[in-house]
Symmetry: D2
Subunit: 322 residues, 4 copies
């Protein structure tokens, strides 16, 4: 019901709803360091996956709320942290080939994260064959593509990637995408990495065909940042908060309190359906995004590209250390 | 309180709230033709302007809901209608000079309407001086600029336009901008033209300095299309509709009904404030926009540019007729 | 030696050099109509293909020099002509699937023709499956992709297209690309269509892997417009013309004439090599393009997209007729 | 005759032609440091200015040929050098206001340097007034605009800047622009800074109205990088080099040598006119640019923006030092 691409948020909702201290089959870990919070959620069983609504695997969430105010020292540290976390999810040989896929639509600012990261990737695969003398040791075979979205191509993105992966047979695929979050405060300041691939129905764009190890035949890392909140989800949350606030504020008698409980008991599913029917269905899916989205997106996209370049090319990593 | 740039919507709210059949000092007219509705709202007095929260002047609203589904015949008719309506608002000599200003940020899709229209303007002012032989009769002196937004330039847009208008001394300024609407169904399918200029604080971007006849010294036409809904306004409306829907559906007793009246009586201003405090204030202003915004924007921007070109250049108008 | 992607120009050079009235195995046809010239060159044998340096097949060249001066009536007629010529090269069933490929780099203006045409294609393949009710009869299954260039992706474009074509198995592939011409006056005003696919080493970008019926297993139409002239080729031609002009003008004695003959006899191949060694080799391949390239490209890209949409979708064609 | 925006190249030509060891009224200085060459040319008298075809003032040229091969250490050192050189040309108070102007057309890759630098400027002027708490000490009032080119706006760029400068009254204007060089090897690897403003008729785009201290009333720094070579100039140079090479190689008798002298004596002006008449005049001005122009431009534009940000904001400079 709750539309979020972040396992962290899905887990929060699950704990709240079930009123349990923890969910069976889901292990979590937390770590903090000067403005950067790292959470690891391990969805170990198929049953747990069902409950949380995410596929089994490891989800790493990195939160850095102060990113909102341009802070170049925080950005640099974040590149180091993300690079390290990425490397916990895969193992590469010196001569491994990696395909980076930038999902999303370059014409819609909040959906352009993937293509934007691809533009900044240090692409080397062709140089190794064509100009081996121009490229020293310490660089892996990296290639990258931003295939566009279904509405522009008429082809499911999963089909395009499947076709290319069949041809290139890379050792690893990394799919970068803009995500939808539930909480506004996570927009553009939270990064999620997982080893689960990217599944149907998520993201700003409804992409039905999974880009996963199962469909492609090689490990798939998903890397994303929430850039929008689904309008129906946001409204739902706001209504809950407003009811809460009204109840706290309103100096009202017993009857009122009873009614509010009634409102609360109104099934979440029904409320959500109601909201969606109220939001004009003809307009199609609506997204909520901050006005400053372009600057925030440029910043976070640079951080992702720098981290990926360092995680894939030992020489780039070394330069950062120096 | 209600954030809308459309005089039509502000008028609707005013009528609803005051429960009057009409507002003193505001004249309205309506006209329909095969899928296109034209409303003219004339705010005649300063007192009426205060009430409706818009400056005195004439506001023409053209609605074509079927634009959402690509319809090239409707688009062509709409160009004719808009051209005609534009021409009711100004009178030009054969040798008049017109400055078209594209407000907004080209990096943020829903705010890029102005710059996008400017790119498609048939610009002639320099040709008349430099290559008079390349340009026949039937073309007015048209020049155009997309100055960018405050966050990119550090300069109030009004100051930039003032500086340029002082220098060029055009006979007419036309300012094109993306607007904020209240109703989702008006996004990208409604056009507003007015002879009032553009006032501080409206639009996606908060621009404080008016671009008006008063500040510039020459008539200013404002031309805009709503491309976003302010998130707080939308949530507010949705809550009202949800309450309405719950009341209709819920099989509840008398007490409940009383409470709902209580909810209704909750002052609108307070409710809006509540919502805004609930929406994360650190994220800044939020906008709601359909996922398909890029395609819708390309279409409507082409319609505006074609209409302006025809309204300003008799030769272009003639070509349309042939 | 002479770098041109136009069969028309290669044929001209061949006739000039061999001083023959026609080349065995090459049939030509010409046709003119109010500002539009159509030439058809049929390279029938492998031997003729060797001589002209183009693969066997049919090359249709459409020239409209007056395109340079914005002329909307000429543009409309050109769409009709190109649509008709395209349809002489393929036969489609009602339910055929067509993949349009936009080759080239969207970041380099003269190389952005392919991606720009793809953006304006009327893409329908996904709608037929997902929203069959939204699309009436008279539309074929069209999908489109702009895969980027080797330097951005690290993957040969031919490999990407091969992978996708294997997956989608379309009935026809149409590859759109910016071309290199020899003559400056053909830039942005000449269109070449052929049924030969696109071959290695041509275009602005050196793409080595052919996109042809042979490699893909289905017919491949190539559609292109010259947008650049290779700098070495241009310089070579200019030197010839300058020598010619000097000889005509110079009031010089016999000795001089003899020397000029000597200059003429200087082997073309050697002269070309000389020029290339003189052009700084470190700078890489140089391209010559008019300053106004962006406007010219927008215009011609619109013409190609309109023609393709009409040639592929009977309903679009019909609308043009009405 | 020779079309170059670089004072360094104009000076070279002048020395060559006049066969003098130095030109009266022109002082030069040279300095080298690990892959970076700095030349300072001081045009002290009006007479010298006439001779060299550049206005009186100081021209600093920074050459770093190895920029062509991505070299991040060289880039960092270059930012330091350029920042230092910029600061030799102006003196600012703590509360000075600086207007950065990005000249050129964002739609044409080699002409997009100015707008691209403007996008990366750290703009602060509005924050100082609107959100003084968000900006600490160590930041000057910087604003920036990319006004577009004559063909897009119909307004001379000089007029736009004049209008804005009249309104804002900045203490300093910095105009960034793409330049035309004579030598291909200087493309995208050479930076010129001068205190002379930018003069009519130079650059990729013919801008007639000077942006200078004389027209604006405040100091104007010009900052540019050559991104194109004019096609006529290039051809001219190539012909000279080819003649030279042919003479060296050709085993020819006395007569030939005499003729070649004749060719040499052919007046440069005439030869240039001849070439221009041979290059199709209808195509308009032609530019020569490397195929990789987009990558080279992104790199150099980042270097200019970083240097300007450091030169204008003491806090940014300090961060670089740390």
């Amino acid at each position: 019901m709750i539309r979020t691409d972040l396992a962290l948020e899905a887990h929060e909702v699950l704990l709240q709803t079930s009123q349990l201290p923890e969910i069976e089959g889901i292990k979590t870990q937390r770590q903090s360091m000067e403005g950067i919070d790292i959470s690891v959620i391990d969805v170990a069983s198929e049953a747990a996956a069902q409950k949380i609504g995410k596929s089994p695997g490891k989800y790493i969430t990195i939160e850095a709320p102060e990113l909102r105010d341009k802070n170049s020292q925080l950005e640099e540290r974040l590149v180091g942290v993300l690079c390290q976390q990425l490397q916990t999810l895969f193992q590469l040989r010196e001569d491994s080939t990696v395909l980076v896929v930038g999902l999303g639509n370059w014409n819609v600012t909040p959906d352009s994260l993937g293509p934007s990261v691809v533009e900044d990737m240090y692409v080397t695969r062709h140089m190794k064959t064509l100009y081996p003398e121009k490229i020293g040791p310490g660089f892996r075979n990296v290639c990258a593509i931003a295939p566009g979205v279904l509405g522009l191509t008429g082809i499911e993105t999963g089909e395009i990637i499947y076709g290319i992966a069949q041809r290139l047979n890379p050792d690893l695929v990394i799919a970068v995408d803009a995500l939808a979050a539930r909480s506004l405060h996570r927009l553009n300041t939270t990064i999620q990495v997982s080893n689960t691939g990217i599944y149907p129905g998520s993201g700003v764009d409804n992409r039905r065909k999974g880009i996963t190890q199962e469909t492609l035949g090689m490990p798939v890392i998903a890397l994303g940042v929430p850039t929008v909140v689904d309008a129906a989800t946001m409204t739902n949350d706001v209504i809950d908060l407003v009811i809460q606030a009204m109840r706290d504020e309103a100096d009202v008698g017993n009857n009122v309190t009873r009614i509010f409980s009634l409102l609360d008991n109104f099934e979440d599913a029904d409320k959500h359906k109601l909201i969606q029917s109220v939001l004009d269905p003809e307009v199609g899916m609506l997204m909520v995004t901050p006005k400053e989205v372009d600057r925030l997106l440029t910043d976070i996209s640079g951080i992702l590209a720098d981290s990926l370049n360092a995680a894939l090319h030992p020489r780039v990593a070394q330069e950062y250390i120096n």
